[in-house]
Symmetry: C2
Subunit: 559 residues, 2 copies
């Protein structure tokens, strides 16, 4: 930053927040920061740490092209690219700031005119349901997003609670409206990613269902309950299944007005008629537990149809979270950069339980959180250095709950491992290290997590002794990760050694001298990759010899 | 039957059963009756009305051949064909006596020698894990089955409780043993039938997981928990997934010793070493709720390793059920025919809830049975005429519970319909009519179901007025099902009219004169298809005209 910033940190634990009453910190947030090129943020509507992250997706680039990875997909980690001229629709889950992707569940898109059940392409948007848009007719603030869909003259507004996304569509033409619900849409998509989709039209306003995918999260299911504020007069769907077996559903015309839809990939539509100036609202509640859970979340969180009230509540929640830091600066641009960064810091991890505390665990069974709120999306390699230590200071209650969530994950893990990179009841195994231990040690040392230190230490030690994991067996045997058979071997040694040091600190806090000593010894393993001759860290083979020729760019692999 | 049989019906409600103490009715059951050609029974081990129906499958004919229905598959509805020379393995769910099929979940097969992870073919059994067998080395009685696998010199014995199948393998050679768990195997199988399979190796004896399929039941999941009586020393799997995206699981060698497996179709193996004469036992518990539910079922129903005790308990349960009818005859063959038929009558519907009363409902949510045990497999077109009326007499408590199960199904149905042909939390829509109403009316008129007649009547009326169903809208409009646009139109009119008469009887019992009158009027609709000129029932078009030329063989369609 170019100017001097004086930051005074004020930590609020539970008391009402005077600063938030005096200041509107949300005015300094620009959700569009980071939406260009590889920033991997999204501009849509989200409550602080909310499970529902409702945002426009500007394209659906396929993860694979001609049977291989398509590097263009990387720009779409968060679904939105500033340079794109069209919006495909508005999906309800996104990653913010990650270097790989998934999600993009339950895409809704309001359209007018001819029904189109495919998204079309950027080059030929008229071939599908997508629409052109302009940044001049688009805006966003914490918990709120709006855009004009130029092809349909529809103003779309979005807001969200933690578990419910709310849409308000204003029509500027009269005529037939088709709201598309594309269950096939996804981020980092490929033909076999959708495992199963299921929908029930429960009434002429209410639809429930789920989407099951196999992507970065290998076995992932998201349930939904959707409600319109007035009845649709028709509905139907297409699906992508190729199997010729249809069983005895063949006695029905399933494509129109049949309330039970299931298959690999469903694209459904719901029809209304619009007068000029009329509005239509939709609520989409999510759950990782069941459609019953999604209905419960809907009833508990947004029982009303007051879009502006929900928007105001979520803005207040954001202001309260942002008020945890009062930054004084003479420059409004710096203030915007600062509060937008703080806003982005408070988007993930995300709450991952129903309003009744039930959640899907790593073992895919339904568990009940006891004394904590369950969180997901632990991007730990990316976040253990700065984000989680910041949370230890600014979000002590959530830090405590995140640690409880990690410990529950470890208990549910068939590997007995804490999260490496986890999301939506899955370990996705991305990146290296076992950095949960660093987050836990930091919180324990600072007294933010104090509940059961022996349990926490045991979870860390079990994780660090799981020989099947990514060179860890070799590391324990040799004192370093050998380069033969391992990518990024030096990075792994260094990160394991750091993590082991963190475990030693936790052991000291827990009063376990034996574990402390043992892990301090492991923490010294970095020396085995230190080449005193060159003064650099350097890979070694399993026979102990230094690797002579290696490509340093190749050592930063994702495992 | 050729000789005179005097049957005395004795109905037991809950009192201990003196007759069962005096007689062994199970000795008169031959489970192989009906296993030839199109009998569609299986010889395996099952408890009365048990969810687990553990039986050998003698082949895996594909449902499709060259993109079309393969008529040969029909012989394998129950998985077993008497004429076949080989056994593929032992799967844990089967239909008995149906005219379409599904299931065949979690096939286990003990093998010796070289590991083979495909089933092989009848022509070349040595190419796969299947084995030759002989009827001389095979036998079965209620709750028990045994066979010698000739290719491996292994004696296989099977027994079962309602929710747990138990295997005992006796090895007659020493050497390496591979127990195959084929999650891809299924009855009426085709390449895309498996939607997802998931497995966790929880310890060196315990494995949990599930199989999700889309077949006759469109959205079906069966969970399992499997335990061996001693540790396996190695394990691994292959899977059939074609997607190139593997995420970051690619950092592991998943094929051997990796405890977390997931994909479209898993074939796993578990390795042991056998001495000559040694035994190995396996327990496989099923649940429709979760792996946690399967573990609970295992712990509650078969906490021990005493195969002979479980076999004896299940035999006693069978004897008690069979003792409900004491048939006196001079001819042992007739006795066998009679008691085998009674045995087959008590195999389905099957209990479909965990030991704690939780079950998967038609809405795919988890429900709790309250005051009844939940049942599934309602083959109503096949069973409303004889089987259910027999149950009303012989199985009043189960009849009551089956009706409660049907009413719960109706409440969970997005169509508001009672079961037509339902299994495993699905309506499969096979055959015609809405014959649940006949079962309910019979039980209500006879006082076997008395709990809430208005609720039962409302469920029947709602079902009978669902215009989207199979010509029912036309039937209500015209007074008959027109032949244009409907197959089996005359049969539908006749069956709807009969069902409407049954609803009228229920209405009279419930004291609802208005519904009684209305449905007695509907019950007269059969007259609209009666051609007085020919004295035959005859199809009419929607304009009222008789159809002149029609193929009577074409009117018996499955909808």
């Amino acid at each position: 930053m170019r100017t001097l910033i004086i930051i005074s940190l004020i930590l609020f634990f539970c008391a009402p927040d005077g600063r938030a009453q005096e200041n509107d910190y949300t005015a300094h947030v620009n959700p569009f920061i980071g939406t260009e090129r590889m920033g991997h943020t999204f501009p849509g509507a989200v409550a602080p740490f909310g499970f529902v992250q409702l945002s426009p997706d500007t394209d659906t680039i396929a993860y694979e092209k001609n049977g291989a990875y398509n590097p263009d997909v990387y720009a779409y980690c968060a679904g939105y690219q500033w340079e794109d001229p069209t919006i495909v629709g508005f999906s309800h889950t996104h990653f913010s700031g990650t270097g790989h992707s998934d999600l993009g569940d339950m895409l809704l898109m309001p359209t007018m005119g001819t029904l189109k059940l495919n998204p079309g392409t950027e080059d030929d948007p008229d071939a599908g349901y997508r629409s052109r848009f302009s940044h001049r007719e688009e805006g966003a603030s914490p918990g709120y997003y709006h855009v004009r869909l130029q092809d349909y003259d529809i103003d779309v507004e979005l807001t969200a609670s933690e578990r419910v996304g709310m849409h308000r569509y204003t029509f500027h033409r009269e005529g037939p409206v088709h709201v598309i619900l594309d269950m096939l849409h996804g981020i980092y998509n490929y033909p076999e990613k959708n495992v199963w989709t299921f929908m029930r039209v429960e009434s002429d306003r209410r639809v429930t269902g789920w989407r099951q995918t196999s992507g970065w999260a290998r076995t992932r299911t998201v349930y939904f309950a959707m409600e319109f504020d007035r009845p649709f007069h028709a509905y139907g769907h297409e699906k992508t299944d190729s199997a010729i077996y249809r069983g005895f559903y063949r006695k029905f015309d399933e494509t129109r007005g049949f309330p039970e839809m299931a298959g690999r990939g469903i694209r459904a539509y719901f029809d209304f008629d619009a007068e000029k100036g009329e509005q239509l609202q939709v609520k989409m509640a999510l759950s990782a537990v069941s459609t019953e859970g999604a209905l419960r979340n809907l009833a508990a969180q947004v029982p009303h149809w007051d879009f502006d009230a929900l928007r105001a509540i979520t803005a207040r929640k954001w202001n309260r979270e942002l008020s945890r830091v009062h930054a004084e600066t003479i420059d409004e641009e710096d203030r915007t950069i600062f509060y937008t960064a703080l806003y982005h810091a408070f988007i993930a991890p995300a709450v991952y339980e129903d309003v009744d505390g039930s959640y899907r665990g790593l073992d895919q069974n339904i568990h009940q959180s006891d004394g904590f709120e369950n969180y997901t999306i632990f991007s730990l390699w990316d976040t253990y250095r700065a984000l989680h230590p910041l949370f230890t200071l600014l979000q002590p209650r959530r830090t405590h709950d995140m640690i409880e969530s990690m410990l529950a994950h470890q208990e549910q893990s068939v590997h007995g491992m804490l999260p490496v990179w986890s999301h939506h009841a899955n370990e996705n195994w991305c990146m290296i290290g076992y950095h949960s231990v660093s987050v836990i040690a930091d919180a324990a040392v600072k007294g933010v997590y104090e509940d059961d230190l022996p349990r926490a230490l045991d979870a860390c030690v079990t994780t660090a002794r799981y020989g099947l994991y990514d060179g860890l067996g070799d590391y324990m045997r040799l004192g370093y990760v050998p380069s033969d058979g391992n990518r990024a071997s030096v990075s792994k040694t260094l990160e394991y050694a750091y993590d082991d040091w963190a475990i030693a600190q936790l052991a000291r806090t827990a009063g376990d001298a034996s574990v402390e000593k043992s892990f301090l010894r492991r923490a010294a393993t970095w020396r085995n990759n230190y080449d005193a001759g060159s003064g650099f860290m350097r890979p070694r083979r399993s026979d102990g010899a230094w690797v002579e020729d290696f490509d340093p760019l190749d050592t930063h692999g994702q495992g």
